[in-house]
């Protein structure tokens, strides 16, 4: 079913779908303006096209739930840990109390935290699927995000499901101080465990992916994909400019720049993400029996011919 119907079916939750949908309270059939090419687009068309402008391929921001639905086989996504949420362990109140930031983020998004995780099928493969939502305190990683990510890794390992995570983040959540920084170590430890269990892990870097989050679980994936034009880096461009007192090269920190510099596997348009991930899983998701038990060198013995 179309994403909007799915949401209607879950009334009471105020999920929104994508950044262009800010006019969604208007009657059906509303037209939206692409910020890049200035074309007006019928909303239904945009929705069908996973919020990629059909005229200039501009990728609108896609919110976490919509993202997850855009990747999962229809009707298969089941959310996990949906009630896990942040506290305010530091009683952080510089400028604006952290509790206020959290409350307004919850109100704006209808989410309990900045990441959605769950079980799903993807191209027929059982996976654990997660996506981050930049509207929620910049999708920064505090204790709750770190814990949800770590549990996603643990679930993938326990059930030997491929893990697919869609990343967007401004970095660590400074309002949780060192608890936030340590989530980098915690999620990287979880990623290392999954890797040693030889369960496949694919990350999809979207705009923007920065700071301490970039420097942890997202870049430890077996296959790293990124959306066209997404800005990805450790240090933000303004800080770098202040440090080196020079302007930055053109295209710096774009997905395409990172591909050229050997850091990611492929820049994939959003419309092809689901099929690309499914194809990768065809290769990396094997039968449930671990290799060691069979002794054979390969996952797919010659006699089976290959197509599962």
């Amino acid at each position: 079913m179309p994403i909007s119907d799915w949401f209607k079916a879950r009334e009471g939750r105020r999920y929104t779908v994508a950044s262009a949908e800010k006019s969604a309270d208007l009657p059906d059939g509303v037209w939206l303006k692409c910020p890049s090419c200035k074309h007006t687009i019928y909303q239904g068309v945009l929705e069908e096209n996973v919020y990629v402008c059909p005229h200039c391929a501009h990728h609108f921001e896609l919110y976490a739930h919509a993202r997850v639905l855009s990747l999962a086989d229809e009707g298969t996504f089941e959310e996990t840990e949906s009630t896990l949420s942040s506290l305010d362990p530091l009683r952080f109140s510089a400028n604006k109390p952290y509790t206020e930031s959290l409350a307004s983020a919850k109100d704006k998004t209808g989410m309990a935290e900045a990441v959605v995780t769950g079980r799903a099928l993807l191209g027929g493969h059982p996976v654990v699927l997660g996506a981050m939502d930049f509207r929620f305190v910049g999708a920064s990683m505090g204790s709750a995000v770190g814990e949800k990510i770590a549990r996603a890794f643990a679930l993938a390992e326990a059930e030997r499901r491929g893990l697919v995570l869609v990343i967007a983040s401004g970095g660590a959540r400074m309002q949780e101080g060192m608890l936030s920084l340590m989530q980098m170590a915690k999620t990287s430890a979880a990623a290392e465990r999954l890797s040693r269990a030889r369960v496949p892990y694919i990350s999809i870097l979207t705009n923007p992916t920065y700071g301490g989050v970039t420097a942890s679980f997202p870049v430890l994936a077996d296959i790293i994909l990124a959306e066209p034009g997404a800005l990805i880096g450790f240090t933000g461009p303004r800080v770098i400019e202040q440090t080196i007192r020079q302007s930055l090269p053109k295209g710096f920190q774009t997905a395409e720049f990172l591909e050229e510099h050997g850091m990611i596997d492929e820049v994939v348009p959003r419309t092809e993400l689901a099929s690309t991930v499914a194809r990768v899983l065809d290769y990396l998701s094997g039968p449930e029996v671990p290799l060691a038990a069979t002794g054979a060198a390969c996952r797919v013995p010659a006699s089976t011919g290959g197509d599962e």
Binding site: L291, V300, G305
Partner: protein, 320 residues
């Protein structure tokens, strides 16, 4: 593009051109040149066989370097489906002289790695004529380790003049990158099938160019040094490469004789470029046969056999 003519095939090409001329006359003037044409065709056929059936090593090198010869990307396109290319070494850069990707060959899910020469000058510049930098070899190594992690056999296509001899390549550890690939290949716990499809230039070839099977195309070569460089060293005259090409024992047949290659795939008379699709089919059959045999083997035994196979290479004397 005009047909590229190797020096040694000039007499044949001359006859072929004459034949084309006769045929045009035949059609245009409706004359009865049938007999002459038939005779010429027979002559051509005989010359073709004479010329191509016993190519000298140096002539084979020319064939291996023929610009129309099928390249790694042609094999990937012809043999592989469901390709997912892997980019980058996650350390420094992405080297377009090396291809790495997940690919399916006749139902076998594999990791395919190959040197990637260009087909035009422009493409060749981008791909550095198929001569890898360290980052290309490290991308290949990342692909090998991914293959091992997920139990996918590795299929490599070898076709390079060698690792790139430049300042930056040295600075970033060309020797280190090659050696680490050799160590990794030697102990990788999945089957490795290497196919020599064109040039096999020294360390840059070897860095993705050995395993449990080495399959050589009939006119592919594999050598410790290019015949020209060898001639330069020995005779101070690169022009004597035809001699050193023989001395170095670098042909497919030599390699089988030395116990280094396992199998030779016959090429169409004149070379793989004369009938690529026949070559693709033959390579696919050979690769599949090798994989079918290797994939069911126990991983420990596979690695042990590969080690023994490598350890046995060499001819030396012992005792006073």
């Amino acid at each position: 593009m005009a047909q590229f003519v190797m020096e040694f095939e000039r007499p044949l090409v001359d006859l072929e051109e004459k034949l084309q001329e006769l045929k045009r006359l035949d059609l245009a003037a409706d004359l009865e040149l049938g007999e002459e044409i038939k005779e010429l065709e027979a002559e051509i056929e005989q010359l073709r066989v004479t010329l191509y059936q016993a190519l000298s090593p140096w002539e084979r090198v020319q064939v291996a370097r023929h610009p129309g010869r099928p390249k790694t990307q042609d094999y990937v396109e012809a043999l592989c489906s469901e390709v997912v290319e892997l980019n980058g070494d996650r350390l420094y850069g992405d080297d377009e002289a090396i291809f790495a990707g997940l690919a399916t060959i006749a139902g076998h899910r594999c990791m395919v790695i190959g040197h990637r020469k260009g087909k035009s000058t422009k493409e060749n510049i981008r791909r550095n004529f198929g001569s890898p930098h360290p980052e290309g070899l490290r991308k290949a190594r990342r692909a090998m380790l991914m293959a091992e992690k997920f139990g996918l056999p590795v299929v490599t296509f070898v076709d390079t003049q060698g690792a790139y001899p430049g300042v930056e390549a040295e600075e970033r550890g060309q020797a280190w990158a090659i050696a680490e690939n050799l160590a990794t290949l030697s102990a990788l716990r999945v089957p490795i099938v290497a196919v020599g499809i064109g040039e096999g230039g020294s360390g840059g070839a070897l860095a993705i160019g050995f395993g449990d099977r080495l399959i050589m195309l009939e006119n592919a070569y594999y050598s410790v040094i290019s015949p020209e460089a060898c001639a330069s060293i020995l005779y101070k005259d690169a022009g004597r490469a035809p001699e050193t090409a023989s001395c170095l024992r670098m042909t497919a047949e030599d390699l089988v004789g030395l116990g280094i290659a396992d199998e030779i795939i016959a090429e169409p008379l004149g070379g793989a470029h004369r009938d690529p699709s026949a070559v693709f089919a033959a390579v696919e059959r050979a690769v599949i046969a090798a994989l079918s045999e290797l994939c069911v083997q126990d991983a420990d035994a596979l690695v042990e056999r590969r080690f023994e196979r490598l350890s046995a290479i060499g001819v030396y004397a012992e005792g006073e």
